[in-house]
Symmetry: C2
Subunit: 167 residues, 2 copies
């Protein structure tokens, strides 16, 4: 993946957590995500398409997800419920939206956010994609943003099946 795509997502995550949640994210070293990875409890996932295709994943540990929802809703959810899911989906949407604005030349549009819940789930990208994971520390625990983005040759939209994840 083009490393120039990393910074927009990194900065967007830091800004959104700071302005919407008052939570300071401390960036750690981005790394190439390979194989099955440390697993999270809540992941917001949003698809990107346009002159590139990809996915942004916002993963949070249980505590970080509960704190984020509490900050947005004014009340602490008692479990990872629909409110937490909506809060995480919305954060993912805004992070993707801000990063998208910085990647104007790719003319990205975003899909609906979905939220994956469940202890020990893993989000896998197609084998031929090289997703980058940006881990963060914060007072609430573990937060990470993962991005896998593939630029498309012009007019190759229909051929993606052959290029990405083909068997």
């Amino acid at each position: 993946m083009n490393v120039e795509y990393i910074n927009p997502f990194l900065h967007s995550a830091i800004t959104v957590f700071d302005t919407m949640l008052g939570c300071r994210l401390i960036r750690k070293e981005p790394f190439v995500k390979g194989g099955f990875q440390p697993e999270h409890e809540v992941s917001g996932i949003i698809g990107l398409s346009g002159k590139a295709k990809g996915t942004v994943v916002l993963s949070l540990c249980r505590e970080a997800a509960l704190h984020a929802a509490e900050t947005l809703l004014g009340e602490r959810p008692t479990s990872i419920d629909g409110d937490v899911s909506d809060a995480v989906g919305e954060l993912t949407n805004i992070i993707a939206g801000q990063a998208k604005a910085q990647l104007e030349h790719l003319e990205l549009s975003v899909s609906l956010p979905n939220v994956i819940t469940g202890k020990g789930h893993a989000v896998e990208f197609p084998k031929k994609v090289t997703p980058i994971c940006i881990p963060f520390d914060c007072e609430w625990g573990y937060v990470a943003v993962e991005i896998g983005l593939v630029e498309l040759p012009v007019e190759a939209d229909e051929e993606m099946a052959e290029q990405v994840g083909a068997l």
Copy 2:
């Protein structure tokens, strides 16, 4: 969600399982997915954007995922590994692609497929979306296709945050 969107995904799933896997899917009654649902072991998830935004999820029980990968790869994986993940991602991609072709007026483009693994995960849609679940029986066990698709008012792309899943 507009019920006319259900059939393209339903037929596409049946056709893809039949032609690519030689597996006959028997449709059961589609239902509106609400709240936290029966959980799956492997889910392929793909974002759609264009004149509508949405997500297609292909969920499989462990046995169905292993059988599907075995049929595509010619060898049975010993666990839910990267090969199974790629096989499920590819099936999701092809099902979404075929359905997209039947929904030409929405000018949909698809994101990368991602695959969620992990026992007991759930894929949540934003609260304001009404996803439809189409369950199927087959000789390998449980398969389901879930679709949540929201038509956008023209030029409303940027306002999605307010319409879908806003807090």
